[in-house]
Symmetry: C2
């Protein structure tokens, strides 16, 4: 049995384990960091959606305004939970994986040290062998070389032992940390999704109970508003223009209407080639002007 050769094979297995861990952890780390960043981008977009919903709500009738605001608040709550998810992923998943870079470097340094010491052992063995071939009778030199080999072997076996312990600890730590990191990932995701279900359930209730008819009445009242005290509902069955409904009035009172128009027209020299928008401006009554583009 050749222990020097055995140590070579052993160090190869160790190096393979560490190099493989370095590669896998590096790739997992950058993918999980990217996953976390994409989650943060989704949160940003949802935050914009929340703002847009609030702007939208402010321009709507009271019932829809309250409903959309509540919905926006719930959506914002989900984003707060998503923010917590992002922070926890960074702290408990991405950062521990990053720390492996340091740990792996230390382990690689241990392996390098072992190789140096093992090379010394080989060198001493080779020296001894050369001496035995060239000067088989020089007992003193051979004895000295044997002592050197012995010292180098002691060093090598002590280092092998340390290396084995280091690699064993490294592997155990790797498995423990991997399990903990994956468990943390799953826990963080689980908590986020559970909170989201909770918030969206409440949002569903709010949206479901939205009373559309009340807003529609508000909107109709606004439409009606421009008629003042008149009944604003459109004609649905009247076919003659002599009806008592407001738009019928014009045919019965063209003259008086014209007189009131004339007054307006006098203020503006009654230019009949006036542009549509200018005509509207001449008639400006304050009401509704703000809405006009």
């Amino acid at each position: 049995m050749n222990l020097v050769l055995t140590r070579d094979s052993q160090v190869r297995v160790m190096e393979a384990a560490v190099t493989s861990a370095e590669k896998s952890f590096g790739q997992l780390c950058s993918l999980l960091a990217a996953y976390t960043r994409k989650t943060a981008r989704l949160r940003d977009k949802a935050d914009q959606l929340v703002k847009q919903l609030i702007n939208f709500a402010n321009a709507e009738n009271p019932e829809l305004r309250a409903t959309v605001r509540d919905f926006a608040e719930d959506l914002a709550k989900v984003q707060d939970y998503r923010q917590a998810e992002v922070e926890r992923l960074e702290t408990k998943v991405v950062n521990p994986l990053k720390l492996y870079g340091v740990q792996i470097k230390q382990t690689k340094a241990e392996i390098k040290k072992f190789k140096r010491i093992r090379n010394n052992e080989i060198k001493q063995l080779e020296k001894l062998e050369r001496l035995r071939q060239k000067s088989p009778s020089d007992r003193q030199m051979i004895s000295q070389a044997e002592s050197s080999v012995q010292r180098a072997s002691v060093d090598a076996s002590r280092t092998t032992q340390q290396l084995e312990e280091t690699i064993d600890a490294f592997q155990k730590q790797k498995l423990q940390d991997l399990q903990r990191i994956f468990v943390d990932f799953v826990t963080i995701e689980m908590i986020f999704h559970a909170k989201a279900v909770e918030v969206y359930s409440s949002a569903f209730q709010t949206l479901d109970s939205y009373d559309l008819e009340r807003d529609l009445e508000d909107f109709r009242a606004k439409m009606r508003g421009v008629y003042g005290q008149c009944d604003p509902r459109p004609l649905t069955t009247t076919t003659t223009i002599t009806s008592s409904l407001p738009w019928a009035v014009i045919s019965q009172s063209t003259e008086s209407t014209m007189q009131s128009r004339k007054k307006d027209a006098e203020d503006s020299e009654g230019d009949d080639s006036v542009e549509e928008d200018e005509v509207e401006d001449l008639r400006g009554r304050g009401q509704g002007q703000g809405l006009h583009k």
Copy 2:
């Protein structure tokens, strides 16, 4: 009361409602489309993570391999649900909002038509007024003009009625669709998050029951493997090199070891200036070579 002016104000309120809806729906649509795209990006990244986890699993010991594969499968399941989320958001949220572009264009066309007809009414009224001022005695002309005004008024009031109905229907549809779209958004999100909770709960069980010790034993056996039948455990208490443990053998049997090394060395001319890697190559025993970088 001036109905022509009233119609101006009314059309302004209608135009404002439609323009505001156009703007809000457009912004909501593009934000929700962006939210959906970001969700798809998150799914893509998680898919990469799944692949990486499977690659990683394949290089690990059986226990960890099975655990990480199960975890990767669960993560893939969540992405399937996320894909369903993305598709449903597109179908039930983004697309209906896009369709508003069409509906709003139709409503705007209605308003334009109304304005044209109302402008004709104004023109006829102005023509009548001019006639009354210039030729107050031309009864026939005035009568004709009065008929034109009456026809234009009938057109205008009929169109006003149509427009009011269109706007009323548009507003009702808008509120209904908005409620439905928001309810659908919340439902889609709720289903996705609930499924994710379910899958991650199962993933948690799998990861939690991972038996680290078994893999550690596998790893130690692999380390041991390079020693063949020997006890591979490192020295922990022995302080002398005359122990019966394998690395102690070298000091007791330097000569016999040297003889076996000599045989190897003879094959390669025993060059002592040989490089470390070459030394390793000379000793190549097949075993473990594949693992070496």
